[in-house]
Symmetry: C2
Subunit: 456 residues, 2 copies
């Protein structure tokens, strides 16, 4: 009897929960769930299962728990640390069918969405109600709000609105035994016991499977102005940030990139670009308000003494041109080679030291490699990209993460730990901290079936 | 040999940690730590101990853990639910000597403060640096930031800046075995493992003893305008809130009170007050910006069709007069009798139903009692005050908390659960939720020595 024909009892049980058509056991059917979009992380799944609602997710988790089968929850599969694809033999639990987005509650300023709803769908629903959502980033059409919550996603707007944790007013989750934790009330103030929701946000599917979130919305701000400031060094960038924090209430984003990254982007985009002032460090500031905030921003830039090295853009096309220089980094870098990409964060005061030392530690780890640095100045979040190092050589990653830790920072600012950085967690979390996390994991998932190998 | 002369081995060990002068065993010396400011909660302490820093707190907790002695952490002792005073025989661990406030980090927009620093001290330090702190309430001169974090304090500004959890960028805590959890980096984005800090905030001293917090600061907003709007009913108040959310980016607070409460305040303040329009429901709106936000607010009020029933105040004295009507409630109520005070929250959409039904359920529980309702409209947080019920009769409390739960709300919005509401927690947290909380408690405090009897 061929092995492939052996009946999978778990598959039969799952089919009873979600319908046979949503249990994908065939290799071709499973394939899209087994590999992340970068191609860096992949593993064989025992099955992929696509429940339709929280009750079905609970049934799936209970069946897996009874069978001792490990589960990898998967949202839009846009992660960068391998947390959403199998390591080998797990059941992939796709949340994509839980894609409902409720009506906006205008009084509460909230909307309820299924874990599988895309960021773009939530943004559209908020916009239609005259409000906005406080998180945005490039993968908005694929990334799901469940994944955003599971990784505590950040992005450029976190400076103003906080990370995803600050947007989650309530949630519903399935625990490791298949029971449902209902924390959906969406109350801004609710201190009736431990905030388990705040704990589950950012736990990367290792403590529970998020199925629904109540999301806080923010006012829609139609008036936006961007400014690109060319500065002599990172110290000047931090000084500018301090002035902006104190003097600009409508600050929305404060991003940075360096001049060699800018040159790479300009070369990639080709000729015919508007010239921008050149200097070692570039800071991209955006302010947003209901009424024209140009004066507020201009006054702060003048007070910081940088107005003569600034390009201001107060219309959509002009802002787009400036943001293209920042957002074009990823594409320009990918066109130049296969980069090592590391998402780290350091205290803002340590940024100058960190930025100065990264190229040195990279040069030691991979002589001849090229380092491109850019990111979110306002929260010390640096995207370190290294070109010219062997793709599988861990030396560069080890060196950069160790440097971030030595600067008092984190090995993961907004992408998560996943499987990619699990072995580096000890760089930034001491033995007391790791032991406490392991106790929490054991308390909520004693059998260890939720996303094993990720985070811890 | 008299019993009083028996040496307390634990006291001797604690004296070795903090110095004999900071271990208070004498009944007169212990007394201030044994009773809360309302006089409602009191219990005998085995000892009160006053460590000076995190290392001493760790030493105290380790000594208590070794002796199996229960600990009640205490901050400014301004709590309302009995979580900060002994139930009988515990060691009171006062954090008041940890009152340092660091220099403001202008680039990061943060300040580090000891758990014992008062809210007012943090506000002053922020203000001196041209910034502000995002939480404020009346007990600011006594309440400590450790207590604010332990209870996830709210207040009127939470509408704009979130509760205390949103302000805590990092923290240091002593776990139940005396080990120190260092989470002080203060990174806005840091998803290297579980956010244990977010879990500890709001855990009321039952999972760890907070010793230090890194606090996010917000821009100082010098231009403020308040408006008092008289409305026919709570539905109109919720409709106004929806318009304000969508049209006013500089919204700082949206409070409410009812007309009988207003009359009580006016009677208490005496004659000579400026007249305000009278109607069943009063909404107090405040907007704050760097430049005059009067036009923004006035336009929204006109758009909501309520400008003809609004008193606007655009100077400090005028704002103070309007806020006195809201903030004067507590004093006026206390002058009229000994109230039952219940801090609850309901979804904003349920507010009209809740406000209508509270007087009815109170009348059933305590015929002839008088109900005064006011609070934070923007987050559905209602302070229910009942006059004329027997002070020790639990029937009123039970009825009001059950109603809040039936409306999909919470038994505690911003005051915490403490010992006062521990027996009501099951009204709003189901068996799955309670079991998960107990597992987390057991994971982090297996011997149950941290604040036993509070929360769970």
């Amino acid at each position: 009897m061929p092995v492939a024909a052996a009946p999978d009892v778990l598959a039969q049980r799952l089919a009873a929960v979600v319908g046979a058509g949503h249990v994908l056991a065939d290799p071709d059917m499973r394939a899209p769930f087994e590999r992340d979009w970068t191609g860096r992380f992949a593993g064989r799944a025992r099955l992929a299962v696509r429940p339709a609602d929280t009750a079905q997710v609970a049934g799936v988790v209970a069946a897996c728990a009874a069978a001792g089968a490990a589960i990898v929850p998967q949202g839009g599969n846009t992660g960068l640390v391998g947390a959403g694809v199998p390591r080998g033999g797990e059941v992939v639990l796709s949340l994509r069918r839980l894609d409902h987005v409720g009506a906006v509650d205008a009084g509460a300023g909230q909307v309820v969405a299924g874990a599988g709803a895309t960021l773009a769908a939530v943004q559209a629903r908020a916009g239609a109600a005259g409000l906005a959502f406080g998180v945005d980033f490039a993968a908005r059409d694929s990334a799901t709000v469940g994944g955003l919550a599971a990784t505590d996603a950040g992005g450029a707007l976190a400076l103003r609105h906080g990370t995803m944790r600050a947007q989650v007013a309530g949630l519903q989750a399935v625990l490791a035994d298949g029971s449902v934790l209902p924390r959906r009330a969406g109350l801004l103030k609710d201190n009736a016991g431990y905030d388990l929701g705040a704990l589950l946000v950012g736990s990367e599917g290792t403590l529970a499977v998020l199925t629904e979130v109540a999301l806080r919305l923010v006012p829609r701000l139609p008036a936006r102005v961007a400014a690109l400031v060319a500065l002599p060094d990172a110290d000047a960038a931090v000084a500018l940030l301090a002035v902006l924090r104190a003097q600009v209430a409508s600050l929305e984003a404060v991003e940075f990139f360096l001049d060699d990254g800018l040159q790479l982007v300009l070369d990639h985009l080709g000729a015919g670009r508007d010239p921008v002032p050149r200097a070692p460090v570039h800071v991209l500031v955006q302010v947003a308000a209901r009424t024209d905030p140009t004066q507020e921003l201009a006054a702060a830039l003048a007070s910081a003494g940088v107005d003569d090295r600034t390009v201001l853009a107060d219309d959509g096309a002009g802002r787009e041109r400036l943001w293209r220089l920042r957002e074009g980094h990823t594409e320009a870098i990918n066109a130049a080679g296969i980069p090592h990409k590391l998402d780290v964060g350091v205290p803002v005061a340590e940024l100058p030291r960190f930025l100065a030392q990264v190229p040195r530690v990279v040069a030691r780890a991979a002589p001849g490699a090229r380092t491109i640095l850019f990111g979110h100045l306002g929260d010390g979040n640096v995207h370190v990209n290294v070109l010219g190092a062997a793709p599988d050589d861990p030396a560069v990653d080890d060196a950069v993460l160790a440097l971030a830790a030595a600067c008092g920072g984190t090995i993961s600012a907004e992408h998560g730990v996943g499987v990619a950085k699990a072995r580096h967690l000890g760089l930034v979390r001491g033995s007391v901290d790791l032991a406490a996390m392991r106790r929490v994991k054991a308390a909520l998932d004693p059998a260890g079936i939720l996303n094993p190998g990720a985070v811890l």
